[in-house]
């Protein structure tokens, strides 16, 4: 199957699976930070590297990135991106600090942000794996806090995914109704994996 040959129906089904997975994930995050977490309905599409950058911000924008590899029947990469200020606010919430306390990420803050990645991914994966019966394993999270372009290109190069367009399932997370925290979720995978997901769901 060629990269661009997923049908509209397949993309829809993929979005629906992701919606259920991410719905489960944001519920876990809401419990963790004791706040309502809003989520946009995920979208599945093929995007180039430049398009992914444009979706999140500029090349030189400060972002916190947590990335986890998926292994097993559904190999891929999950990443969460928060802009700098959102990352600081998230750490305040996670560590129970007054808003505005955090203005740099130390080791403690870094592991708090990584934990968000763990919790979200864990719930996402368990929802999809229960639905499909497929075996899904997550690797330990990686973390970076720097320029968006540098972070994303390094990750995609290491994953061998910078060739052309990548299949991206993405949504925005709003763990705070005031809109002070904004995050992006991406699942990068390949069409062969989608076929497997589809047949597990009886398509």
């Amino acid at each position: 199957m060629n990269d661009r040959e997923l049908s509209a129906g397949e993309l829809d089904a993929l979005q629906e699976i992701s919606n259920i997975g991410m719905g489960n994930a944001v519920t876990s995050l809401a419990q963790l930070i004791n706040r309502r977490v809003e989520m946009r309905v995920p979208r599945a599409r093929f995007l180039s590297f430049e398009e992914v950058i444009a979706l999140v911000g500029g090349y030189e924008e400060l972002v916190a990135c947590v990335s986890l590899r998926l292994l097993g029947d559904v190999p891929g990469i999950i990443l969460y991106l928060f802009d700098g200020r959102s990352a600081y606010r998230l750490v305040d919430l996670l560590l129970g600090l007054p808003a505005g306390t955090t203005d740099a990420l130390d080791e403690m803050a870094e592991s708090a942000v990584k934990e968000v990645g763990n919790v979200l991914t864990g719930s996402f994966v368990s929802a999809i794996s229960q639905m499909t019966g497929l075996r899904m394993i997550t690797a330990v999270p990686l973390f970076a806090f720097d320029m968006l372009g540098a972070v994303l290109s390094s990750l995609l190069v290491a994953a061998g995914r910078i060739e052309d367009a990548v299949l991206v399932i993405e949504t925005e997370l709003f763990p705070d109704q005031s809109g002070q925290i904004k995050g992006h979720f991406f699942l990068l995978t390949e069409p062969g994996v989608i076929t497997r997901l589809m047949s597990a769901l009886g398509f």
Binding site: F49, E50, Y59, E60, L62, C65, S67, L68, R69, E110, A139, V140, P141, L142, F143, A144, D146, M147, L148, G149, A150, V151, L152, S153, S154, L155, V157, A158, A159, I162
Partner: protein, 159 residues
Amino acid sequence: MELQVGIADYKITRDPGRLITLGLGSCVGVSLYDPLTKIGGLLHVMLPDSTQFNNVNRPAKFADLGIPLLVQELQKKGAGGRRLQAKLVGGAQMFSGLDDSLVLNIGQRNVEKARAVLKELGIKILAEEVGGNRGRTMILDTADGKVIVRMLGNVQKVI
């Protein structure tokens, strides 16, 4: 005038022009500059070695193909091979964590390959700002061949 160089791409310009490439992480920016003609080129490579891949559609993606290509194109525009001076920026390790398969230190391999290729071509490296764990933006000024390296937190270096 400032021209932007994308990932896995290169551009050439002459005084009074500047070339910029944004957000180098593990990628390496290679600038080549001829001080006599004031012609300069900037290349943004992602990977060290094209021989590991079957399907090579963009030579500028790889250090082993991209650097000789840039030299060739510079010569076509009248920049002298023997006068070319190189500067290297990038090759960082952006991620921390224990997942080895994503921490292959591509940055370091990119830098080492770029040095080796330049040496083979007999091009001297005048300055480097490589390694570490910071993302970098690289700007080549063809007025004098200076390279400005910009990092987050208002950090700027001229090499």
